[in-house]
């Protein structure tokens, strides 16, 4: 059976693809396409965060009794990432390529180190602690995530 780590990591890579398409559109000064692609990126990311915060993290917390540990840190990073996405969106709306490129670079690194922590540490913990609930949890996660 698929693991939480595999499923969620695959969704991370999907979000990367949207990010890249937006970046390329900015590089070729195709602002309308950039805005449309960035919107897809932001929507997929937001949904991913929501699914984690409303389904996966509470399941982990309920099972382990650890409420102020990694899940709390990840919630904090989600907040930072949401803020960065708003700043990038504002730069796109203002058609400011420099501001967009600096913010996008920051967003990318923040996002990738966040994904790394989840994929290397938190998801394996979830797979381990929630092993008995995977048959219910995985379809639920899949259902809620943007494919």
């Amino acid at each position: 059976m698929e693991s939480i780590r595999e499923l969620m990591a695959e969704k991370h890579r999907r979000c990367d693809d949207y990010f890249v398409t937006a970046e390329r559109a900015v590089a070729s000064a195709n602002w309308d396409k950039a805005s449309a692609e960035f919107e897809k990126f932001r929507d997929a990311m937001s949904r991913h965060f929501d699914v984690e915060e409303n389904i996966l993290f509470p399941a982990f917390e309920a099972h382990t009794g650890v409420f102020m540990g990694p899940t709390q840190v990840m919630r904090g990073e989600h907040k930072q990432l949401r803020e960065l996405m708003s700043v990038a969106e504002a730069a796109l709306a203002a058609r400011d390529a420099d501001d967009y490129s600096g913010t996008a670079e920051t967003l990318l690194i923040m996002l990738q180190q966040h994904n790394m922590k989840e994929e290397n540490v938190l998801y394996p913990m979830c797979d381990q602690h929630l092993a008995e609930h995977l048959d219910v949890l995985l379809p639920q996660l899949k259902n809620e995530l943007i494919s």
Binding site: A27, G69, P70, Q80, D98, L108, M116, K117
Partner: protein
């Protein structure tokens, strides 16, 4: 559970920064040494050997002064992110290790230049203590953390490689200090093999699996590579060490070819996946990585050629060309390239956390400007080229090479300090906003 509970603790900014700021200072010292000594010419003709005091001093200014500094600073920083492992009291660890290895690097350089037995022993003590403290803390932090990804396992292997490298180095220093009667040239080769490969290349591989695909948005390294590369390389280095120590020359040569080809494989695969980056532009970090991998491939090619072409093997300068390609062109390039991602990001991250969402931090490209990084990149590669030219034509190129080395490192220091000054300026802004809020 320790990792689970203390998962978030990114060490304070100055924990890794002190290492990063010191590295270019040692780079400038290396440049000054080139200017002062005319290292590449007369020494080599006189001794026909890589083991001249100036060459050894220069090598250790680069390996201990630049490479070890940045690698330790970066490991302190990445352990929580990569493995969920936190070092105990990271600020104290950083302060003590940084002081010991910086003093150790200076003492070692002075020891090579003066041939003073006392200085060699002092250098062995300082570096040995610094690394023992670092390795002890790293092992404690990683204890009980499963190797759930190739990067975590390779980080553990690299720390073993570091321990052996420094252990052998300290033994050599004490031997040179006159206290032990060991075969020092064999030990020196083994020390070099462990430093370049079991510590340097494997740590680089551990970091590359993660950062190349993630930050440059390239395809992942092949699965077999992640699974087998570092373990195989470690086994080959171990076997080569035994053969080398026992003077089984043919076996040692064959295994040596294995070690060098293994390093070339890493460079080749990195170049291959980098060609498929999805990023819209190649930035300074990507140029640094590409330059480094090309230089590493050239170094491996040279090493293999020197083993098969007698004319090349007789050329006394080839080991120095190899050294410049591996150290300056390879490791130092990757390290500088990584600093241009790590430092702006850390500064942004710390400012973002301090601003608590009420004061937005300046984005990474406002911390260190792209133009400044690109200019420094050119200066660094120019210095590598001039160092190579100085090996062929010392009279013409020694001075330009030394000057270029000083300039490229001074420029790096300036770029890092510019980032820090953005950090301090923005901190003041945050403080004024918060104190204003309290007054209201």
């Amino acid at each position: 559970m320790q990792a689970l509970l203390s998962y978030d603790q990114s060490p304070p900014l100055y924990a890794p920064m002190r290492f990063f700021l010191t590295a270019p200072c040692f780079g400038m010292l290396a440049g000054l040494l080139v200017l002062w000594s005319g290292w590449s010419g007369s020494d080599v003709e006189l001794n026909a050997s890589r083991w001249t005091p100036v060459v050894l001093a220069l090598t250790h200014l680069v390996t201990v002064g630049i490479m070890l500094q940045v690698m330790l600073g970066a490991v302190i920083q990445i352990m929580p992110v990569l493995a969920g492992a936190n070092m105990v009291k990271p600020m104290r660890l950083a302060r003590v290790v940084h002081a010991l290895i910086s003093l150790g690097a200076l003492t070692l350089t002075a020891a090579f230049l003066s041939s003073s037995p006392l200085l060699f022993k002092l250098a062995a003590l300082l570096l040995g203590l610094g690394i023992a403290y670092f390795v002890g803390s790293a092992v404690y932090a990683l204890y009980g953390i499963p190797s759930s990804s190739p990067s975590i396992r390779d980080l553990k292997i690299a720390i073993l490689g570091l321990s052996v490298t420094v252990g052998l180095g300290a033994t050599l220093a004490i031997t040179l200090g006159g206290s032990l009667g060991l075969p020092s040239s064999t030990l020196a080769d083994i020390h070099l093999g462990w430093g370049f490969v079991a510590w340097g290349t494997i740590l680089l591989a551990a970091v590359a699996y993660v950062v190349v695909p993630m930050f440059q948005l390239t395809p992942a390294y092949p699965d077999w590579f992640g699974r087998w590369y570092s373990v195989s390389l470690l086994v080959v280095v171990l076997l080569w060490t035994i053969a080398e120590y026992c003077s089984w020359n043919l076996v040692s040569l064959v295994l040596g070819v294995g070690v060098v080809s293994g390093s070339a494989l890493f460079a080749g695969i990195t170049l291959k996946i980098q060609r498929h980056t999805k990023r819209a532009h190649f930035d300074a970090t990507q140029h640094y990585w590409r330059g480094a991998m090309l230089s590493a491939l050239a170094a491996c090619g040279l090493w293999l050629a020197a083993r098969t072409v007698p004319l090349l093997a007789d050329w006394p300068v080839w080991p120095l060309v190899f050294g410049v390609l591996v150290l300056f062109g390879g490791f130092v390039s990757v390290i500088f390239g990584m600093l241009y991602k790590i430092v702006p990001f850390l500064i942004w991250l710390h400012l973002q956390q301090q601003g608590q969402g009420r004061v937005m931090a300046p984005n990474m490209k406002k911390v260190i400007a792209e133009r400044a990084m690109n200019g420094q990149l050119l200066a660094h590669f120019a210095s590598c080229l001039l160092l190579l030219l100085a090996l062929m034509w010392p009279n013409e190129f020694d001075y330009p090479a030394g000057l270029a080395l000083v300039a490229a490192n001074a420029w790096l220091l300036r770029n890092l300090l510019a980032g820090l000054s953005v950090y301090r300026g923005h901190l003041r802004k945050i403080e004024s906003v918060f104190s204003g809020a309290i007054r209201r």
